[in-house]
Symmetry: C2
Subunit: 467 residues, 2 copies
Amino acid sequence: MENRILLPDTDLLMEESLEKIYGLLEEKKYFQARDELLKYNAVDIAEMLEEITEEYDYERSIVLFRLLPKAISVDVFAELPSDDQVEIVNRITDKEINFIIGEMDFDDKIDMLEELPANIVNQILEKTPKQERKLINTFLNYPDDCAGSIMTPEYISLDKEWSVRQALDHIKKEGMEAETIYTCYVRDFGRKLIGIVSLATLVIAPDEEKIKNIMRTEFVFAHVFDDQEEVSEDFKKYGYLALPVVDNEQRLVGIVTVDDILDVIEEETTEDFELMNGVIDFEDSDKDYLDVSVWQHALNRLPWLIVLMIAYIFTGMIITGFEAKLSEVICLVSYMPMLMGTGGNTGSQASTLIIRGLATDEVDTSDALKILWKEFRVGALIGLVLSIVNFARVCWLDGNGVWIGLTVSISILGIVIIAKIIGSMVPLLVKKFKLDPALIANPAISSVSDIIALGIFFAMATVILGL
Amino acid sequence: MENRILLPDTDLLMEESLEKIYGLLEEKKYFQARDELLKYNAVDIAEMLEEITEEYDYERSIVLFRLLPKAISVDVFAELPSDDQVEIVNRITDKEINFIIGEMDFDDKIDMLEELPANIVNQILEKTPKQERKLINTFLNYPDDCAGSIMTPEYISLDKEWSVRQALDHIKKEGMEAETIYTCYVRDFGRKLIGIVSLATLVIAPDEEKIKNIMRTEFVFAHVFDDQEEVSEDFKKYGYLALPVVDNEQRLVGIVTVDDILDVIEEETTEDFELMNGVIDFEDSDKDYLDVSVWQHALNRLPWLIVLMIAYIFTGMIITGFEAKLSEVICLVSYMPMLMGTGGNTGSQASTLIIRGLATDEVDTSDALKILWKEFRVGALIGLVLSIVNFARVCWLDGNGVWIGLTVSISILGIVIIAKIIGSMVPLLVKKFKLDPALIANPAISSVSDIIALGIFFAMATVILGL
C-alpha cells in the first residue's frame, strides 16, 4: 500500500502515470490502465481522464471511466466538468446513469443539473423518486449566487432531549459524507433551528449528557437568499466548517460547508479581478477561459472600451482647444504620455488598495476622511519624488530648459495628488451607494486621470510659459 | 436564551449594542457593559473592543477585557490585532498574562509571538515550560509564508492496532479544539505518517474495528517548507478540512486546518491584486491599509512608477522624433490619448484573464498557442468594432476627413490586436520562467502598449498621410 501515498509533487507523478496510461491504451490494455488510475483519488482521476480525452477522444476515456469501481466512479463523475458529464451521460447505459445519479451527494447533483441541457435533466428527473424530485426542483429554483444555490439538504438533525449516546448512535446509522457531519443541528417542533452541536463536542461529552445541555444556542446563520459572497465573509470571519441556512420562518432548510465556500471565494475573486480591469462576464458562468467563445470574450470586453471612447472625446477636445498653443511649443507633446500614464497608474494603485480594503473589511466608508488625509500625504510624497526626477530629465536629459522643466514637474505633483484622491474616494462613493466598488474599473480611473492630467498640464503651461 | 441567537445582520445588532455600551461606560456601569458584550461570540467581542478603543481609549476597553470570563477572554485575546495584544500584555498582571498565553491554541500563540516586540516575547517565553518553549522556537523559525508557519502541532495521533472504541476514548481524553480533531493521524514507530482517519469514519465504524483496517493510506500531504499558496491550492482542489505536514524524513510535524487557509487565500489574493496594479508590499505584512505609514505606502508604490519613467523616456523620444511632422498635422495629437489608452486597457484585460487563469489552473503555459489564436481573433473583432466607431468619430464628429479617419481607425485595429497578444503572452512567458505572473503589473503592460501604439500610429500617419 505504501506506494499509494501521494507525494507533494503529485503533478509530476501524474504526468508519469499518464505517459504509462497512454502506452497501455495504445496496446489496448484497458484494465492495466485503469489500475494505474486507481493509484490516485477521485479529484486526480477526473483530472487525468480530462487529459486522456484531450490526448485521444471521449471513446477511450469513457471506456476507462466505465471500468472504474462503481463507488469510485460516482466521485470521479462529480469532479468532471459539465461538458464531460454530458458526454458520459449520453454514452453510458440508463442503469449506469441511475446508479451514479442516485449515489451522488445532493449538492454535487444540483451543480450538475444546473449545467446539463434541459432534455437530459428531465430524463434524469423522471427516474428520481418523487420526494427527491420535488427537493431538486426547489433547489434548482434558487437564484444563482445565493446561499440556497450552494447549500445541501444533507445534514444531521438531533432531538434536544436525546443523550449524547443516542445522538452518536443516530449519526452512526445515518452515516453521511464527512463534511456534512461535523456540525449537527437541533430543531424544535416547528422545524425552527434552536441550537447546534459540533461532532467534536459530542465525542468529548459524557455519554449520558443531554443534547440540550451541550448545544450552543448562540450561533451565526445565513438566509437562503443571502448573497454567497456575504456567506463566505462569515466563514472567513468566524472560521466555521459549516453554516446553517434558514428560510423566512427561521426553519432550517440546509447547510453550507466550507469546501464549497472555497469555490465561491475563487469565483468571486475572479469576478473582482475581471471587473477591476474592465472585463464584465455577461454569461455569469464559471466557464474556463478557453471554453468561452471568441464572440463572448469580445462581448465581455467591449462595453468598457466603448464607454471609455466617450472619455477620449473629452481628452481630444481639450487637446484640440489647446492645439494652437501646443504647436508653438511642440516639445510639450512628448511629455503628455508620461503625465497621463503616471496619473492613471498612481490613481489605480490607490483604487486597488481601497477596493481590496473594502472587500476584506480593512476599511469602511466611515474612514473616508482618514483615507483622504493619508492619500493626500502619500500623493504629495510620491509627487515630490517624481517631480524632482522629471525636472532633472526635462532640463538636463532632454535639454528643454528650466521653464518647461518647471511646467512638467509642478504638473506631475498636482496630477499625482489628485489622482490619488480620486482613486481612493471614488470606490468609497460607489460603496456608499451600496454598489460593488470593483465596478469602478481601473480603466475608468485611468481615463478620468487622463482628463485631469491634461487639464493641469495645459493650465500650468499657460501660466508658467505664458502661452 | 432565545435572544442570544445572532441574526444574519449582526452588524446592525452590534452597532446598537455598542451605542448601549457607550452609554453604560459613561455611567461607569462596567459590569452591565460587559454583559452586553457577552451576548456575542469571541470574534465579535474582539471587534467591539476595537471599536471601544477607537471611541475612547485603551483604559476602558482593557477594563472591559479584564471583566470577561477567563475562558472567553482567551479566545477574544487571540482575535485582537497585535497592537491591541501588546497594549493588553503591558497593562494586565503577570498572572493574567500567563493564564491567557497558557490557554491559547498553539497556532494563535505563534501568530501572536511573531508580531509582538522581542522583549515581550522573551518575557513570555521565560514563563513557558521548557518543552513548549523549544517547540515555539522551532515554529518561530519557519520562514514566513511556508506550510510550517501556518501549521499547528495540536493533532490527534492514533495507533494502528487500536480499536475504534479505544480511539474514540483517546480523543475524548485529549479533548481538543474542534477544527483540529476532525482528522486523526496514524504514525509508525519512527513517527512516519502512515495513514489518516476522519472522525466521521470513526463515529460511523463499528466499535471493534481496528484502525489499520479503516485508515486511508493514500492521502495528500504538504512539506514544512512548501509555499502556503501551494498548500491552499491543495485545499481548493481536494476540499479537505485539514492537511498533514511532514518533514524531510516524512515524519508528521503538524497539521494545517482549513480555517487558517481562508486567511492565507485572502492574504495571497490581496498580494496578487496589489502586484497587478503596481503596488509591492515591501513590509510583507498583513497590516491593514490604515495601519501602514505614509512613508511605507509611498515606498510600496514608488518603484513601479519610477521604472515606468524609463518607459516614458522612450515614448517621449518617439514623439520628439516625429515632432516636425506632428506640427504639420497637429490634430493627430488629439487622438494620441485615445490610442494609447485603448491599447493599455485592452492589453490589461487580456493580461488579467491570463494571470487569473494561471492562478486558478484554468490555463497553463502549454496552452500558449491556443491562447494566442483566441486573443488574435478577439483582438481583431474588438479592433474592428472600435475602428468603425472611431472612423465615424474622426470623419463626421471631428470633421477631420477620410484620410485622418483611416489613419486613426487602421491604427486602432493594429494596436488592439498587438496589445491583446502582448497582454496574454507576457504572463505566460513570466510563468514559464517560474516567476509569479502577477509580477507583470498592468501598468507595465500599459506602458509597453503606449510605445507600440505611438509606433503604429506614426507609421500609419507616415504611410497614409504621406508625411
